[in-house]
Amino acid sequence: MAANIIETGGLTRSYGDICALKPLDLLVAEGEWLSVMGHSGSGKSTLLNIMGGLDRPSAGSLRVGTEDLLALTEDGLARFRREYVGIIFQQHHLVPYLSAVENVMLAQYFHSVPDEAEARSALERVGLGHRLQNRPGELSGGEQQRVCIARAIINSPKLLLGDEPTGNLDHKSTLMVMELLKELRAEERFTVIMVTHNQEVAAWGDRTIYLDDGVLVREERNK
């Protein structure tokens, strides 16, 4: 049985009087694909941001790998994000004036040293070897998301987080992206945590948890 890569204990996040995440205890095994579902405002993106070191919990404990995230400073969290995490956003957030390969190299810049050959290789892996010099505006939605995936995995993260990565894609592109993620997970063995409101997308994961008003109300193993 795989060790747990993520352990939370009473994890809470409040914004003033609003409690976005009520005390949550959660374990995620190394290499697992966890889908997080819930309606808007259920706290799923909040949970993802906290696990990715982008946000700090108000209370509780959170360990990712060997890192106690609550004990990290701002710069410590930045280092954690650099070394542990790759993020795929719903809106891609590609830099519009950089080409596809330059967008991927941007992730390398903060991690180590930009390496164009490595970036090209990552793009070829996601099927965009012929679109290296194109800017985001010249790519389709699915292609942009694949650039995003290449950017997220270029530094070999242990944790790949996806915040509704297929939210803006059509059905065909969604399938393409999910197939790609499945292949990459099999090769790279990273842990995936994916937020989605799409049942079909959630079913790609090993397990799905359901949040409602910041509370974990249900979890189930996917076939």
């Binding site: 982008l54 650099r82 995490v85 809106q91 830099v95 941007l106 991690h111």
Partner: protein
């Protein structure tokens, strides 16, 4: 946009700096046209007149400067000046006295450029007569005049007349050595007029320096011109400094506004960099480097533009070239860099504090 603002600001600072730098020389050249700005006059000796216990009052006896002493002092003073030596004394003409002034006509042509001779400038054995004097005696150019001193008489030809509207119109001008000989006042001077270059040191200080060497004389500024030139120069320099300051403050505000807009427009990009693991200082460094690069480019462009503007100003105002000042390139780049970084300070603080989650959400 930011590059244009920085280039314009640094070009104006450069242009005004170059113009100000070359202006002292230009103003000195312009003021030169108005003649001497310092004059040395011997203190008049006063003698009490009386007899048998009666006091009839005081009379003044003409006093003179020793020419050799004056030449020595001026040679050793280190003063940069053009000089004109004058001797004024009466000579007998027909049955009366006329006032004659001995001068060096070469010096006169340099120091008194407004003199226009109706006729020709005199050579040896010739004189220039004031127009009023000529009219009084019914004399014309080409006629001979007989002038007598205490021991000598000379016959000189009138080469031309002069009409300035000033006291020159009532005088007779001949060469200094000639008058010194006829009048028996060899080696004596009545006044010395100087056109001192006023670059740097104040004219009043130079007058004081000279005064120390002439205890029996009075060294005075030709006040109106001296004050006008120094006062004018100081005022124009102050105006340029104030205009430059206003331009730089405006440019600084514009830089701040532009950088704030840039940070706002690129807030998602900043959030993305932080999400990917960029530290606050690391991301700040990227944007600061961008601002510095723009400052550098703006400074170079501003220097080239500034030279062109300075040339235009000095050609238009002084009909002269402003010259080439390579060290102003450092000034231009320095000003532009300073503006870019100072103007970016506020926006950079925003970059530092930016929350990646909120910025990626578009808040």
């Amino acid at each position: 946009m930011l590059l244009a603002v920085l280039a314009m600001a640094s070009s104006l600072a450069t242009a005004l700096g170059i113009v100000s730098f070359s202006m002292e020389k230009r103003v000195a050249e312009e003021v030169r046209k108005y003649g001497a700005n310092l004059v040395i006059i011997p203190e008049t000796a006063r003698i009490t007149v009386g007899s048998g216990g009666l006091n009839f009052g005081e009379i003044s006896e003409p006093a003179y400067l020793e020419q050799r002493r004056v030449e020595e002092v001026l040679a050793h003073s280190g003063l940069k000046a053009e000089e004109s030596f004058h001797l004024r004394c009466p000579l007998r003409f027909r049955n009366g006295d006329i006032v004659a002034e001995g001068v060096d006509f070469v010096e006169i042509r340099r120091l008194f450029p407004w003199w226009q001779i109706n006729g020709a400038w005199p050579t040896a054995g010739e004189v220039v007569m004031g127009s009023d004097l000529a009219a009084r005696y019914g004399l014309k150019t080409g006629e001979m005049v007989e002038l007598a001193g205490p021991d000598q008489t000379v016959h000189l030809r009138i080469s031309g007349t002069i009409a300035t509207g000033g006291e020159e119109d009532g005088l007779l001008f001949l060469s200094l050595p000639e008058l010194q000989q006829v009048s028996g006042l060899g080696g004596r001077l009545s006044t010395v007029r100087l056109l001192v270059t006023t670059e740097g040191e104040n004219l009043r200080q130079k007058a004081a320096t000279l005064q120390a060497h002439f205890p029996g004389a009075k060294v005075s500024e030709v006040r109106q011109i001296a004050r006008t030139s120094e006062g004018l120069l100081a005022k124009v320099k102050l105006l340029m400094v104030l205009v430059t300051a206003v331009v730089l403050i405006s440019a600084g505000s514009s830089v701040t506004g532009t950088m704030s807009t840039t940070v706002l427009e690129r807030s998602r990009e900043i959030g993305l960099m932080k999400a990917m693991g960029g530290t606050r200082w690391g991301v700040l460094l990227i944007f600061s480097a961008e601002a510095a690069l723009l400052g550098l480019l703006g400074g170079v462009a501003g220097y080239l533009l500034g030279i062109a503007i300075a040339q235009f100003i000095t050609k238009t105002v002084f009909a002269a070239s402003s010259g080439f000042s390579p060290w102003f390139a450092a000034v231009s780049v320095g000003v532009s860099l300073f503006l870019a970084l100072l103007g970016s300070l506020g926006p950079m603080i925003s970059v530092f504090k930016l929350d990646p989650v909120r910025s990626l959400r578009g808040e």
